[in-house]
């Protein structure tokens, strides 16, 4: 129907960069051997896998033997949290935040069922955890702290350096779900005092179905899966070779381009935020400054997120929403609720997440289309008329 497609859903996933695709493509049909095979073609593939591991390590300021390839961010989070818990002989206490991704939150809930206690730290109106509240939450048997580096919905950056320092000082393992941050902002695992860090390639223009877990040297956890000796038994199974090669290339590229990309995205982001606010009664969710370079999350008062999304979609604009009706669950976003937004504002939220391919023209186009969409939906809304 529409001639134009403006993709602003990079928080959900990103296209694979051409350079990345070209780099991984030969590993499907040509260099297809199993890296565990002893023969020459197998050894060549093993070498390529280890090069990807080096690239990943160097992007994070880690050592190669601290990188374990997984099938994605969800798996990395599950391995870290459950692997540490499984290693213990008795239940203990875990601290996380109330705005984590479900791949951390739901693991924690499951661990509660198994006898562990979990503290879900509150956040302020911008979605940030206070390091003081972390200090206060620590108990004698707290064995793990898991706080995300940046929130996927609202883009708010957590003070991970400070949080990690608190954990390190107390000698408690610290995990950070950095799925939204890797390739967006510069950091290294030492600065963060991180013992574990999760990442997922498809969030930084790498392929889907591949991720990594950084686990600091010397730490031992119980693997969740059993089988072959791949990934030093932490994640057995024939390696997803093209995925690994793609991850290595993507992270190398993304990290090298951070300064330039960050500047560009922050500029586009701030233009979009300003333009949307100019519609009137449109509010930014998340921290005004401490946020992901590409994240714009706004609530359109008086209207519901999914109806905005559908209307944008008809104009060829791909965005997403934390609204209950679009997520398949009926509850409004747990993130916006934790920040204290009331039901109707939480329901009116829409996330535009910018990425590599977006341009000034994309911003113009979205702003041009958003205004009449909001107007039309408001004209239908009982709350708008009753305001």
């Amino acid at each position: 129907m529409q001639s134009r497609l403006v993709y602003m859903d990079h928080g959900a996933t990103t296209p694979v960069r051409k350079e990345v695709f070209d780099y991984m493509a030969p590993y499907f049909q040509e260099q297809y051997s199993n890296p565990s095979s002893l023969h020459a073609p197998g050894r060549e593939v093993r070498q390529a896998v280890e090069e990807a591991r080096e690239k990943t390590a160097s992007a994070l300021g880690a050592n190669e033997d601290e990188i374990y390839f997984t099938a994605g961010g969800t798996e990395s989070n599950n391995i870290a949290l459950r692997g540490v818990a499984k290693k213990r002989t008795k239940p203990g206490h875990i601290i996380t935040s109330s705005v984590e991704h479900h791949a951390v939150l739901d693991v924690c809930k499951n661990l509660e069922n198994e006898g562990h206690r979990v503290k879900y730290l509150p956040v302020n109106q911008y979605g940030r955890v206070d390091p003081e509240s972390l200090k206060e939450a620590i108990e004698d048997d707290t064995f793990m702290i898991s706080i995300m580096a940046a929130n996927n919905e609202i883009g708010t950056l957590q003070p991970v350096r400070e949080l990690g320092a608190v954990a390190r000082e107390k000698g408690i393992l610290f995990h950070t779900d950095a799925v939204q941050v890797v390739g967006q902002l510069p950091f290294n695992v030492a600065d963060l005092n991180a013992d574990f860090l999760s990442l997922s390639a498809h969030k930084f223009n790498g392929p889907k179905g591949i991720g990594a877990l950084y686990m600091r040297k010397g730490i031992k956890i119980d693997p969740l899966y059993r089988g072959g000796s791949q990934e030093r038994k932490l994640r057995p199974g024939t390696e997803n070779v093209p995925g690994i090669i793609g991850l290595g290339k993507a992270i190398e590229l993304a990290v090298s381009e951070i300064p330039e990309k960050k500047k560009k995205l922050e500029h586009l982001r701030d233009r979009l935020i300003k333009g949307l606010r100019d519609i009137g009664e449109v509010y930014l969710n998340g921290h005004p400054k401490e946020r992901l370079p590409g994240n714009v999350n706004v609530s359109f008062q008086y209207i519901e997120g999914e109806s905005v999304l559908l209307s944008l979609d008809m104009e060829g604009i791909a965005a997403s929403s934390g609204s209950a009706c679009s997520s398949g669950s009926l509850e409004p976003s747990h993130v916006l609720s934790a920040m204290g937004l009331d039901h109707s504002m939480a329901h009116g939220s829409v996330r535009f997440s910018l990425g590599y391919g977006n341009s000034e023209e994309d911003i113009d186009y979205v702003l041009e289309k958003a205004s009449p969409i909001v107007e039309r939906l408001r004209s239908m809304s009982p709350t708008y008329h009753a305001r």
Binding site: E304, C325, A346, S381
Partner: protein
Amino acid sequence: MYSEKVMDHFTNPRNVGELPDADAIGETGSFKCGDTMKLYLKVKDDRIEDIKFQTFGCGAAIASSSMLTEMVKGRTIDEAARVTNQDVADQLGGLPPLKLHCSNLAADALQNAIGDYKSRQHSR
């Protein structure tokens, strides 16, 4: 995700608006997902002569609202009272399972409006 019929009613909703001199008003809200709807009826000789709606809600909620108004406009109050949530969803060519509850809004608002109409009749 949505049928063509749903998208048509979402994009070109019928009977949106208010009736300042309505004979009955029905309001409803879903505790579950936060949607709300307001329905205005103009009734003459027990027949729905005019009907308008306002909805805060997702695509399914808006389309169901629009569909319902089309289904009952011109009908008698008794006929309209028999319209169920399922009827609305069926007329829309079906809704995704997770969205079925959104279509409840419309029929519920109508029941409330009819209730309002009847109580106004009484108090006259």
